[in-house]
Amino acid sequence: MLIPIQTVMAQLQEKYYTSKTLNGTFEEVTRKVTSVLLEQGFGVITEIDMDVKLKEKLDDIEMNPYKILGVCDPSFAYQSIQFEENIGLFLPCKVLVKDLGNGSVEVVMVNPVVLMSMLGNKDLIEIAAKVNDKFNAALQQLQ
């Protein structure tokens, strides 16, 4: 049974993401994020330039560079899939690189604990917490 997310979030006091804003170019920050994630064991397996994709399809829109990276630690993914066969619906974990303009770039990492708490599976929450610790460590390393 699905646990109401409001209950989960009230207990957790957590947002669905963590973020940090850096100075630098979009490309520099993307390289740095990829590198700190790799140090924590996460490979980038998908990459979407959302601004480019949307501008191709929609007329007259304005959007700053916005990259969605799909990152995955294969051993965590493998463990998760044993506990919940359709967990692939939430994989890979998403990390955003957003150009805010004026030389500022925001890095946003999803907090997997919030979504996994909604599923109410203790084993998955434990894995999500480990992933989240690694994401926070990566974010701290990012300068």
């Binding site: 699905l2 109401p4 997310i5 409001q6 979030m9 669905y16 993401y17 973020s19 397996i45 998908t46 979407i48 959302m50 994709k53 949307l54 399809k57 929609l58 829109i61 959007m63 916005y66 969605i68 799909g70 995955c72 294969p74 051993s75 993914a77 493998y78 899939i81 066969e85 359709n86 692939g88 619906l89 939430f90 994989l91 890979p92 998403k94 990390v95 955003l96 957003k98 946003v108 990492m109 999803v110 919030v114 979504l115 909604m118 599923l119």
Partner: protein
């Protein structure tokens, strides 16, 4: 309430199912932006044998743009995933994430209506596949 909707198809090949899901997605205005072959990835990275398991990342550009305008960090939940996996020799499960369930993690009323529209489309994709 569950976090996805699904169905099981029988006596079709895995590739045929991928094709029919992709076609149904196109009909509903979704492009497939990412495709992950989980079986191949586990083999390569962990050297384990796994069943056929594919993750498609689907996106409807107009809806995605509206969602991003309403919530700038919604990209952490995009694209919408569809999982196709072999559950027995003759059976394949198709499951799509329910965006209404995952949007609940974000307290933003402007997203709820959008998520409802996307849900209706993804439900039709599952029915048509």
């Amino acid at each position: 309430m569950n976090y996805y909707f699904n169905k099981t198809v029988e006596n079709v090949t895995f590739d045929e199912v991928i094709e029919s899901v992709t076609a149904a997605l196109t009909t509903e205005g979704f492009g497939v932006l990412t495709e992950i072959d989980v079986k191949a990835t586990f083999k390569k990275k962990l050297d384990v044998d796994f069943r056929n398991y594919r993750i498609l990342g689907a996106c409807n550009p107009a809806f995605a743009f509206k969602a991003l305008e309403a919530e700038d960090k919604i990209g952490t939940m995009l694209p919408c995933n569809i999982v196709i996996h072999q559950i027995s020799d003759t059976q394949i499960e198709i499951a799509a994430v329910d965006p209404v369930a995952s949007m609940q993690a974000i307290e933003n009323n402007n997203l709820i209506e959008l998520a409802g529209e996307i849900r209706a489309k993804l439900e039709r994709v599952i029915i048509q596949s």
